[in-house]
């Protein structure tokens, strides 16, 4: 075990996998930094420091610094993957799926199906998402719901450094296209990461981070921390909560949710995205369809409001779910008879 930050787990896992497998290639804006400048390459190694030192080790053909052209970045990842490589493309902000969605949605997600199973597209699109930095409406979004809805993609949302390592390695070794979502507010989070160079976490297996029998709280990414804080608070009052960190939303561990709800009968979903047609509604609908007999109270959804993300500190924090809102939702679910 080694202690490291979430962002270091990203960088180190990529580094190790690039060492292990020549076909792994990284591309994106400023993933090298300094290209075409007097200062020279490696000025930065990604503005999130998630590719530091890769260029020095692996060179320009495997660590490809690109112009600001997200469609071409994702498209190139598709072409690399169809040609036998394992590209890891970086979108500096998940909000930039706006300028590259076609290549994600209509191209890499669908190649295998459209081609009748005759192709392999092991492309990873890493993207940095989430609020918490007052980066406002175009640099703070959490579009995991949109991507989860797209057949052909796998969607991964690690919460801890260990999960970053295990899930990213799994993603790199997977033959299907993977959306790998890194929450910017978690980058500095520290945690133990297993040393095993083959440490992987299979997709579709949720992590139970708190156990209790009164209520089920389902969350991803930064919302897991909110849920845990609420659960800890509730525990002081003798209220027990299962907190389920989904880890991957496609495939999603339906069983973990349904099994827990069967015991608790009450479900609270926490989602950083706006409320409509979202992961929150997806999970609530799952319960309404498949856990109906167990449900003892209306499903509670704690989400962002149906608004863009505001800039000011007061506004952003009012916008986001937080432990108090989660706690209130749990209490509401428990109060129902």
């Amino acid at each position: 075990m080694a202690k490291m930050m979430y962002r270091e787990a990203v960088r180190n896992t990529i580094f190790q996998e690039m060492k292990r497998d020549d076909s792994v290639v990284v591309l994106g804006e400023d993933v090298v930094g300094g290209m075409g400048t007097d200062g020279g390459p490696e000025a930065i190694g990604g503005i999130w420091s998630t590719s530091t030192g890769l260029f020095d080790e692996f060179g320009a053909d495997r660590v490809i610094d690109t112009p600001i052209s997200e469609s071409a970045i994702v498209g190139a990842a598709g072409g690399l993957a169809l040609s036998g490589k394992r590209p890891i493309a970086e979108l500096m902000f998940a909000d930039f799926i706006g300028v590259s969605l076609d290549q994600i949605w209509n191209q890499i997600a669908k190649f295998r199906y459209m081609f009748g199973g005759k192709s392999r597209c092991p492309a990873i699109i890493r993207m940095v998402y989430g609020a918490g930095y007052n980066a406002a409406a175009q640099h703070s979004q959490s579009p995991h719901g949109i991507l989860t809805g797209m057949p052909g993609l796998k969607v991964v949302m690690p919460t801890t450094p260990a999960d970053v390592a295990g899930l990213l390695r799994q993603a790199i070794r997977t033959d299907d296209p993977v959306i790998f979502m890194e929450h910017k507010a978690l980058y500095a989070m520290k945690g133990e990461v297993p040393d095993d160079p083959d440490f992987t976490i299979p997709f579709g297996h949720a992590r139970l981070t708190r156990a209790g029998e009164d209520v089920t709280i389902v969350a991803t990414g930064m919302m897991v921390g909110m849920a845990e804080k609420a659960a800890d608070k509730l525990a002081e009052d003798g209220i027990g909560a299962d907190v389920i960190d989904l880890r991957t939303t496609s495939p999603m561990d339906e069983e973990a949710i349904l099994d827990s709800v069967e015991v608790t009968g009450r479900l609270v979903v926490v989602d950083e995205a706006p409320p409509r047609c979202s992961l929150a509604t997806d999970i609530a609908a799952l319960a309404a369809e498949k856990a109906f007999a167990s449900l003892k109270a209306p499903v509670q959804m704690v989400t962002a409001p149906h608004t863009p993300i505001p800039f000011a500190r007061e506004l952003e924090s009012a916008y986001l779910p937080n432990p108090d809102k989660v706690e209130a939702a749990v209490r509401k679910a428990l109060a129902y008879n």
């Binding site: 053909d61 052209s69 071409a72 690399l80 076609d102 209509n106 009748g116 997977t174």
Partner: protein, 328 residues
């Protein structure tokens, strides 16, 4: 022309196969037997064949919505394609893709594409892969080629791809097939530059060529130069071929945008297959009878393919659910 008799026959066979394949579809579409949207490549055969005759399975191409010609030229199986267009589960894509999504990655054919302009970035990625794989024993790189129409060349993705190819010095080639129309719009309207499509590519830093796309020899010889340049590692290139679309954008298109007598003129003067026949027979490289023999063979190939497509297994409801992921 440095082509051998064999090469010429092969080129003719491919062009004629495309022509007959498409003419057949043209007829069948009227009967309603073929589902979906089908865009015919008739008239542009010399481009697909003149380009792809230089390639091996290790070179990649990315095609367009008008992709049958590119697929056939790159070596996709005729019967497999016909079955696909018929929607059979024996089709090249199990009936899941259809006309606009035919692919065969084993042949280096990375897919027709229903999204105009989507191909160029994918080709640049394939070219990055080729660059990473390095040169072969002869000091040559594999290449990746995107076909693009005169309409697709206005899509942002195509521009981004050109710049990125130049920046990364990838062995990518954009083949612009200027057939003068994007759907019902003239390229003179939609391509705003005062010059031509190639000149825009040139401004991006690509080395460019231009040639008559209805003249097989011109296409073939131009591509020889283009490929020499790119395979040697000199970076990406673009080439603009002036060509003709013999049918409407889609079947049933009233083609009111055509000038008076335009259809007759292009059929008479700009038919790449007629022109090929004329050139090679006049130059005594091949006899008319050699070509007639190919015509017969091709006619049979196509007839057999259609018969096979009609008789082939239909997909079932369960087939909908497979091939979304490799690993579920």
């Amino acid at each position: 022309m440095q082509l051998s008799r064999e090469d010429l026959l092969q080129a003719y066979r491919r062009m004629k196969t495309i022509r007959d394949f498409e003419e057949l579809l043209h007829d069948e579409i009227q009967t309603g037997e073929i589902a979906g949207f089908t865009h015919l490549y008739c008239g542009q055969e010399a481009v697909a064949v003149g380009v792809c005759e230089h390639l091996t399975d290790d070179d990649k191409i990315v095609s367009t919505h008008r992709g049958h010609g590119h697929c056939l030229a790159k070596g996709c199986d005729v019967t497999g394609m016909m079955k696909e267009i018929w929607g059979s589960r024996e089709g090249l894509c199990k009936g899941k893709g259809g006309s606009m999504h035919i692919a065969d990655t084993d042949k280096g054919m990375l897919g027709a594409n229903g999204i105009v302009g989507a191909g160029a970035p994918i080709a640049v990625g394939a070219a990055m892969a080729a660059k990473l794989d390095g040169k072969d024993a002869d000091g040559k790189l594999r290449v990746a080629i995107a076909f693009s129409g005169d309409g697709a060349c206005n899509q942002g993705t195509t521009f981004e791809a050109m710049n990125m190819a130049v920046v990364t010095n990838a062995p990518a080639i954009i083949v612009f097939e200027n057939n003068h129309y994007s759907e019902h719009t003239g390229y003179k309207y939609a391509v705003g530059t005062k010059q031509d499509i190639a000149s825009r590519a040139e401004a991006f830093g690509m080395k460019v060529w231009r040639a008559d796309g209805t003249d097989f020899t011109a296409v073939y010889e131009t591509m020889r130069e283009v490929l020499e340049h790119v395979r040697a590692g000199n970076g990406p290139a673009a080439v603009e071929f002036d060509t003709e679309r013999f049918y409407g954008h889609f079947e049933g298109d009233p083609q009111r945008y055509r000038g008076e007598g335009e259809m007759d003129r292009i059929r008479a003067e700009r038919d790449c297959i007629k022109n090929f026949r004329k050139t090679v027979t006049e130059a005594k490289l091949l006899e008319g009878s050699d070509l007639d023999k190919v015509d017969e063979e091709v006619a049979k190939t196509i007839a057999d393919a259609v018969a096979a497509a009609r008789a082939a297994d239909r997909p079932t409801a369960e087939d909908v659910l497979t091939d979304v992921y490799i690993d579920y």
